[in-house]
Symmetry: D2
Subunit: 330 residues, 4 copies
Amino acid sequence: MTVRFGLLGAGRIGKVHAKAVSGDPDAVLVAVADAFAGAAEALAGQYGCSVRSIEEIEAADDIDAVVICTPTDTHADLIERFSRAGKAIFCEKPVDLDVERVKACIAVVEETGAKLMVGFNRRFDPHFQAVRRAIDDGRIGAVEMVTITSRDPGAPPVDYISRSGGIFRDMTIHDFDMARFLLGEEIVRVAATAAVLVDPAIGEAGDYDSVSVLLQTASGRQAIISNSRRATYGYDQRIEIHGEKGMVLAENQRPVSIEIANGDGYTRPPLHDFFMTRYTEAYANEIAAFIAAIEKGAPISPTGADGLAALILADAALTSVKTGAVVELS
Amino acid sequence: MTVRFGLLGAGRIGKVHAKAVSGDPDAVLVAVADAFAGAAEALAGQYGCSVRSIEEIEAADDIDAVVICTPTDTHADLIERFSRAGKAIFCEKPVDLDVERVKACIAVVEETGAKLMVGFNRRFDPHFQAVRRAIDDGRIGAVEMVTITSRDPGAPPVDYISRSGGIFRDMTIHDFDMARFLLGEEIVRVAATAAVLVDPAIGEAGDYDSVSVLLQTASGRQAIISNSRRATYGYDQRIEIHGEKGMVLAENQRPVSIEIANGDGYTRPPLHDFFMTRYTEAYANEIAAFIAAIEKGAPISPTGADGLAALILADAALTSVKTGAVVELS
Amino acid sequence: MTVRFGLLGAGRIGKVHAKAVSGDPDAVLVAVADAFAGAAEALAGQYGCSVRSIEEIEAADDIDAVVICTPTDTHADLIERFSRAGKAIFCEKPVDLDVERVKACIAVVEETGAKLMVGFNRRFDPHFQAVRRAIDDGRIGAVEMVTITSRDPGAPPVDYISRSGGIFRDMTIHDFDMARFLLGEEIVRVAATAAVLVDPAIGEAGDYDSVSVLLQTASGRQAIISNSRRATYGYDQRIEIHGEKGMVLAENQRPVSIEIANGDGYTRPPLHDFFMTRYTEAYANEIAAFIAAIEKGAPISPTGADGLAALILADAALTSVKTGAVVELS
Amino acid sequence: MTVRFGLLGAGRIGKVHAKAVSGDPDAVLVAVADAFAGAAEALAGQYGCSVRSIEEIEAADDIDAVVICTPTDTHADLIERFSRAGKAIFCEKPVDLDVERVKACIAVVEETGAKLMVGFNRRFDPHFQAVRRAIDDGRIGAVEMVTITSRDPGAPPVDYISRSGGIFRDMTIHDFDMARFLLGEEIVRVAATAAVLVDPAIGEAGDYDSVSVLLQTASGRQAIISNSRRATYGYDQRIEIHGEKGMVLAENQRPVSIEIANGDGYTRPPLHDFFMTRYTEAYANEIAAFIAAIEKGAPISPTGADGLAALILADAALTSVKTGAVVELS
C-alpha cells in the first residue's frame, strides 16, 4: 500500500515534512495547500504534485492522510474537519494552546475514530530513542530521576513570543512530553520557577525566558527541567535518566566532531545552531512512523491525549510560578 | 609563623585532617584528643604528637588552633568553648542540626571575635575552584542557571540516617552551600520533592533517599539539585553553570582514565566510590586555606554564617516537601 | 545547467552514487549500464532512467558525465574510452593496480583534455574537511606530524583479497591519499612493516592484515599510519595533525551517541560497522563537488595524478616490507 | 622491616624521591649526599636526616638501599660501587648512554647479586598500569598494534640536549620501554625518521626534535611512536593498544577537568605542563614498588636489562635514520 498525502501549509516545517513524505518508498505527496499560492506552487513544482485548496484536499478520494503545518490557531479546527473527512492526520504540536479546546478536539477525533499523531518529534530522535530502548531493555532498572536540559541558541522574535502561549506551552512542552516519555508514569506534582534573564522585552510581553521545573510521579519518580532561551554554544538538548541499576544519557550533537588543541586548551566546535539541523533525522523518522502505522493499521503514538497531557503540565507549571504553590494534578 | 594544632576526634575524618596538618610546612600537630584512648594514641604515635584531654587542649599555651571532628551533637558546644579559649577553630559541618542552636553558637563566636571555619570541603576541590574562577574571570558572564548533580554510591546505614537530621541536612546541605557559592546571590525561594526509591528502611526511619530541589534568587537566578543515595557507577558529583555568555561545568572524577573498546562499545571505568578518595585534594586544600588565613590574619571562609545559611535552606526544602508549598525566605 | 549522467555499474557503490546524482538539483541520471541486466533495470526503475549499454552511453548526445563503478580491472580502459568520447569522468579508486597502466591512462586523459575525478571519498567527509579547513585557517600553524588510524571492522573475503592488489593498494591507499591531503608536501621516504595477525588465510593469499607505515616529506614532516583488518568496536577512522601552534583531530563517528553507566563503568555504543554508513555524507559530497566543478568549469580534485601518487606510495610500502629498506622516492 | 635509604643527588628529581621515601611507612631516609653541600643540607633539614659523603653512605651499616639521582655520567660507576657495597639500588634512567658501558655495569650487578631497579617511572603511572592490567586480564586478547604518542610541552635548553645522547636516548627511550612493557614480546625490527622542525639550534647541536618510530616483534606485533619536543597544549602522553578482541587506551591527564562552552565551542583546559606534575603518582609508586620488593625479597622490575634493551632500541632508531635502513635486531 502507498499512503497518499496532502500537505497543509508550505512553510518552513511544511517543507521538512514534504521532503520526508516524498523520500519514503511507501508514501506519495499528492497535493499541497497554502494560503500563499506562491509557497504552495514552489513546493508542488519541486515534488511534482498538485496545488489544491484545503476544501479540495478534504473532499479528495486520492488522499489518505494529511500533514497539518498551518498556524497553531487553525490546528484544532483542521483536525476536526479532517477527522470527519476520514483522513489520517499528522498535526504539528500543539493541538491548541487552550486545554478545553484540545479536549473538545480530541472528543471529535475519538468519536470519528480518526487516526491522529501529534508532532512531538523528539521522541523520534535516534539518540533519544536509543535511550528509551536502553530503559526498555532493563539496562538501568526502574527509572528514578530524569534530568532534561533544553536551551535554545537564541530567543525568537518578541512578536512570536506574544502569540506562543508562553515559554511553558511553546518550549517546555517538548520537555514535558519527553519527561512523560521517559518517566513511564503519569506526573502528579509540578513546581516551577521562572524569570526574565535574557531579554527584558520578553518580560514586557508577559513571558519568561529562563525556567526550572520539578516534576514528580505518584510513586516518587522525579524529573527536573532546565530551560533557557539563550545558549551561546548552540542548541543544547540533553537528557539523563538515573535508575536503580544505572544511568543512561544522550549527549549533545554537533555538526562536526573535531577538536583543536593549543595553549588555550582543547576546543570542540559549537553544537547545532538550529532545531531543524539538530532534529533532521527525528523529523524524517516521525513521518516514517506515521506512514508505517497507517499501513499496518497499528496504533499511532504520540496521540492527541499525549498533546493534552503535556499542555496540562505546561499550565500547571505556569500556575506554580504565578501562585507560589506546588501544583497537584489529579 | 607555625600554626600549632590540637585535633579533637581521631576517627575517619580526623585522620584526614591530621595528615593535612602534618604535611603543611606552616603547621604542626601538637596534640590529639579522642573519647577512645586507643584511637588518639594511634594517631599521636603516627605523627609524633601528644594525647591530651579536650580540657587540656582548651587550656594549652602551645596550641593556636583546633580541628573539631567529634560527633555532630558536640560541635556547637566545642565551638563555643574554644571561641572563649581564644583558639582558631576549624569545625566539620554541620555546626548543629538545629537552626536556633547554630544562631546561638555563632553569637558566641562573634562576641569572642574567634575565627571559625566550617568544613564545606567541596569549595576547595580544584575542579570546582576552577569553575568558580572561570565565573570570576567573566568567562560566562552573569550567572543564570546552576545544575548540581550529587549522588552517593550507596546509602549509609539506617542507624546513621536516623541521627543525620535527614537527607536535606546531611547530604543536600553540601549542594545548598555549593549553590550559594556559585549563584553569587542569596536564595529567596525553595521548592523540593522527595521520595523513598532506594530502600524502604530509609522511609521507615522517617527520611528520603531521592530528592530534587529548585532554588531561586531575588533577581531570578535559578539552581536545581538532584540527589540520590544510590549511584551504581560511583560517586557522582557534577556542577554546571549557565551564564549570559556561556557555560562552565566540572566533570566527574575517576581513579583511572582508561577506555576499553570492543563489540559492546567503549567503556571507561566507574567513578571514585567514596567521598574521601574523590575529595582528597579538597580536604588538604581546605586545611591549607585555614592555616594560611590564620597566618595572614585574613578573613576565613566559609564561615559559621555560611553553615547557618545552608541549614536554613535544608529546613526550607523539608518544609516544601511536607507542606507542598514553595517556601519563600526573607 | 543540469549535468546529465550515465552510470556504469549498478552494484553496491553504484547505488550510492545513483542516489547522490538523483538527489542533486543540478544533475539528472539519464542512463545506467551493467553487465547484469537485472541490476541495471532495478536501478533504472527506481530513478526513472533508461538502461543502456556502455557503447550507447559512450555515443550518447544526452549524457555529459559518467560515474565508473565497474570492477577495478575495467577502470583504465573505460577512463580512456570516455575521455575520448568527451565525457567528464568520475571513477572509483583505483584507476588501476599497476603504476605503468595508470600513467598510460593519465596520458590519454591529458591528451584529450578530459575531466577526471578519482573517488577518494574521505577528502569529502565533513569532519576531515573541517580538519583541513582548520589547517588552512592557520589554527595549528605549519603541519609537522600526522597520525592516521584506519581499521576495518572485519576482513573482506579471501577471494576479494586475492584480487585486491594487497592491503597497501586496497586499504592503505585511502590513508596514503589522506596523508598527502594533510601533509601539504610530497612524500619522499616510506618505511613499512606488515604482518598476518588476523587470519592466516590472508597470509596464504599472499597478503597482510596488519600494517604500519611511516612517511616523511622533504622538509621533514612525518606521517604514521596504523591499519588493521580487524576492529571489534567498529569502523575506526581517526586523523590527528600536530603543528607548530597546536593540534587538530577528527574523532570517530558512531550511529548513536548515548552513554550507559553502571557498576562496570561508562559505556558508549560501538562505532559505525560499515564504510557506507560511516561515509554517507562523504559520498554525497564528492558527487556534489564533481557536479559543481563541471558546472563551473572549475578544476577537479582529486585527479588521476592523485590516484597515481597514492598508488606509488602503496608500491613503495610493499617494497619496504619485502626488502627491509626505507624506500626513497624521487 | 624498615628499609633505610641513602639518597645520592639532591636536585629536582632527588627531591621527588626523598619525599616518596619519607612518606612510605616502610622506609626511612637516613642520609643524603650531594656535590653541592647546600642542596644536601636543605634536604636533610627538611626530612631530619644526615648529610654524608658518597663514601660514607657506601660504608654505612645503617643504610640498606640507595637512590641514585646524580648526573647521568656517574650512574654506571655508582651502580657498580653500591653493588659491591651490598646495597639495593634504585637508579634514575639511563644507566649510561653507551651500550657497552651498560653491559659491563650489568655484569657487575649480576656478579655481585645486587638488586637494581631502573627508573622507568611510566610503568608505575596508575593509568598505564590499568592499561597493562586490562591486557593481562584478557580484555583485548592478544596484543597486535601499539600506538604511543609522547610530546613535550617544550624543548629543553640546547646545552642539555648536547649532553643528552640525543632525542632517541633521552626522550624516546621512555617510549621504547613502554613499547616493550606493552607488546609482550621482544622487538626485532626498527625503522625511524627524524627531523628538525621545532628549533634549528637543536639541529645545529646534532640532534632532532621530531621523530617517528616503527617497531615490530618476531610474531609481527607492531608499535608506532610519535615524538615531538613541542606541544602547545601541554604534556601529551597517550598509549593505545589494539588487540584481537578489542582496544584499550590511556587518556591524557589535565590538572583540572572543567569545560567552558561559548560561541567558540567547548573548551577544556590544557594538559599538565610538566613531567613532574603529570607523573607525580608514578614517581611515588615506583619507589613504593622498590621498597616492597626489597622487603619481600621479591624480584625487581624494571631491571638493568630493561634499561639496556631500551638503549639498544634507541641506538637502532638512530642507525635507521642515519643509514636509511630498517634495522634488524638479533
